[in-house]
Subunit: 88 residues, 2 copies
């Protein structure tokens, strides 16, 4: 299953809505970054939900995909953050 890193730069008024959607599909790993392994079908569903809440002229979401988690190496400098439910 493909592995995804999602990054975003979204206006303050809409960022919580975007996070709530992303939290259903991915893990929140840094202030503007989510990660996770999901099927293509679920990714499409997630994208449709995101399109309903963002302003495409202002907001920016990048979906990075690798075919397998093993294709991606991750190094951490400083704190490795992970946000739990009580942040939303």
């Amino acid at each position: 299953m493909p592995y995804y890193v999602i990054t975003y730069d979204v206006s303050e008024q809409r960022v919580n809505k975007v996070r709530k959607i992303l939290k259903k599909y991915f893990v929140w790993v840094q202030n503007s970054v989510f990660e996770g392994e999901i099927s293509l079908g679920k990714l499409e569903k997630c994208k449709q939900e995101l399109l309903q809440v963002i302003d495409q002229r202002e907001d920016s979401i990048y979906i990075y995909k690798v075919h397998r988690l093993t294709d991606l190496d991750k190094q951490v400098i400083g704190v490795e953050k992970e946000f739990t439910d009580n942040f939303l």
Copy 2:
């Protein structure tokens, strides 16, 4: 050459210093994201410089690496941002 996506969550007092370092090695593609292709040697140099300016107990930098750019697929929802020099 490996391809990198760098994401960061750094305190306001230090974020400009981090961006100035990253801009020497990568392209600034989203508010908290840089991308680029560099040698292992240059990556180590970049990491050493970052370690001099961040507070490792508070700040967080993730370095995602794929072996080749072709291993990484990128989809954009909304705006594809790229920051030029006048932002620093």
